[in-house]
Symmetry: C2
Subunit: 350 residues, 2 copies
């Protein structure tokens, strides 16, 4: 029998973290009788006087959110990371190792209106979000080793506030995921003398099987090693290392690309498509300021949980938590469906 | 200021996989306005003629589930892993690596009655489950490198059928998690000449901060590096390497321990406590039959998602997926609450 990727289970390697994912496309045939998600629809009012992210509303700590008219950034009222905390005592026991963690958590509203999301915002408004990301990154990257910009979208992704916003958590240390990438990208560069993701894009552009969006500045693919059903990577084609390297034109095209990608997502299952997304680029802070970043390529990753419809998600549970990641459709099938999904007209627009 | 683990954020290292977790106990103070889970209550009928896991019911593929009266095992009708599949072609491109994956997926019912769960089953009935685990393991471990026994409990954990059951996925290869453990345990053994988890238990028994249940055969702790709020590890104290090493008496005590632990879980938030759990021990199959397993210690891991109540879970999303695991209360606080939770009388029993 000949191997057919869309029919036969196999494993694929993620060269960015050295982990394998189990691909089981034949599994899409099984019926689903488990938990159904509430489909996320755009049912927010434009302004909710009880929502602390809306302009002019008082937050639980008494501070009033400014009457902003574009983006708006403030320190998280319940930050996971604080700047001033004592360090845990050093331990020489390899089984009880603790390390300091200092940082800062910010909340960034995308727009004053609660009933908008990135795909329903204009390119100009998305551009304002990108500019704010870069302003924040410029400010925080001087001090912190890692500035994690991320958006949790939708209640299914643990988002506790429906107002369009993201978060920025800055860390005095390199967290696990970027640390692994740092090592793998560096090793690849040492061997091949080229950044891994540059080579990767080149091959994807030849193979054309996993491309979702392609323009002169950005490439969106469902990675060969994707874990989540409709996971994508949005990669800079200009050898940018960090988000603040982007030129005016690249920022504009990024806004266009984000609008397209998120519109495709929403149109796929006709819902406000949930996901967690975030930016990865070369580490920062005094520690990394003078280190080479030649091995890095700026990229964003989208992790959306939905699998079959607006209400049926993929659960990463027993086998996935205890053994390894497992996916049900192939990355090529997912890319095909995202290519076919309209990226220009949102299903809610007239 | 002096460091206080229950107040000050810090990182902890998991020596079993080399990954750090961010501990942010001060975060428990923040209000929650996000998604609420449906609390899982024991509302199943004893017998549901439409549930394919119930005795005598016809499954979607036409096969009739036997009229069993204890445990019952059958091949998953929609298996992720099949025995006979062609292998993907070899590739010399480091960015596009695929590997074969062969295996087998079984479903194992714990009891004929749909309205029972492990904590509401008798010790004798749980003992039957353990004996079946071992029978299955004996049968499958001769052929497969890894036999993953795992239970997804509750709709929140992706469980698509409320009948008490677990799954057994056997793999022709070592999946990511066990592979990492294999390497770390082996390295520790090479340096210290003792199994890591043996040393770990010794220290936990001295420190007494994270113990949930202790008896001559089994130790249950919230690991120092736990990720999920009420994560626990159930570890063999008898230097067992695999589940089929257990003596009659150790199996009996295991049944007692499982009943106690799951009763504590249910009593904590007065609900049928969701979790994913599974067994880890020395690898198997022809490939590992003659390798030393001295570095291994048999253990089970419980990953429960709930954080604050029966309806508020911890979401592992943006920062966790893109940067690193993050937890809100300390493992010591979680252990204290599980110690205080009654392990003898289930909240539903009269
Ligand atoms: O086979 P089940 O119980 O329907 O499926 C459940 O467990 C599997 C193994 O952890 C997961 O891959 C699925 O996402 C989950 O819904
Ligand atoms: O800060 P939020 O949006 O309330 O919280 C959300 O994102 C955080 C960062 O990914 C997670 O730790 C939380 O579990 C999640 O609910």
């Amino acid at each position: 029998m000949q191997f057919v990727a869309t029919e036969h289970q196999h494993r694929r390697l993620n060269p960015l973290n050295g982990q394998w994912v189990l691909v089981c496309p034949h599994r899409m045939q099984r019926p689903w009788s488990g938990q159904e998600e509430k489909p996320q629809l755009n049912e927010q009012p434009e302004f909710d006087p009880t929502n602390p992210l809306c302009p002019g509303v008082k937050r639980p700590n008494g501070i009033i959110t400014e009457r902003y008219d574009s983006t708006y950034v403030f320190d998280n009222d319940f930050p996971a990371l604080l700047e001033q905390v004592p360090s845990p005592p050093a331990s020489d026991d390899p089984l009880f190792q603790a390390a300091p963690a200092r940082g800062n958590c910010r909340v960034m509203c995308f727009h004053p209106k609660s009933n908008l999301t990135l795909p329903t915002m204009s390119v100009m408004e998305i551009r304002a979000v990108i500019d704010e990301w870069i302003r924040q990154f410029n400010e925080l990257s001087g001090k912190y080793a890692w500035v994690q910009i991320f958006e949790n979208k939708g209640a299914t992704m643990g988002c506790s506030n429906p107002h369009p916003h993201c978060q920025i958590w800055s860390c005095s240390f390199l967290p696990t995921e970027p640390q692994q990438k740092q090592e793998r990208l560096r090793a690849y560069y040492a061997t091949h003398d080229r950044p891994m993701l540059g080579d990767y894009m080149e091959r994807e552009l030849q193979r054309k099987e996993r491309i979702v969006i392609e323009n002169p500045d950005w490439l969106v693919v469902v990675p060969y090693w994707a874990i989540w059903p409709f996971e994508t990577m949005l990669i800079s084609r200009n050898n940018n290392k960090r988000i603040n390297d982007l030129t005016d034109n690249q920022r504009h095209n990024l806004a266009v690309t984000i609008k397209q990608l998120t519109t495709k997502y929403d149109n796929l299952f006709k819902c406000s498509f949930p996901y967690s997304m975030g930016w990865h680029g070369a580490p920062t802070g005094p520690e990394h300021a003078h280190a080479s970043s030649a091995h890095w390529t700026l990229h964003a990753i989208y992790y959306p949980p939905l699998l079959r419809s607006a209400t049926v998600r993929k659960f990463m549970v027993g086998f996935e938590l205890l053994a390894m990641a497992q996916r049900d459709l192939t990355p090529e099938q997912a890319a095909q469906r995202l290519r076919d999904s309209d990226g220009t007209k949102h299903y809610l627009s007239k």
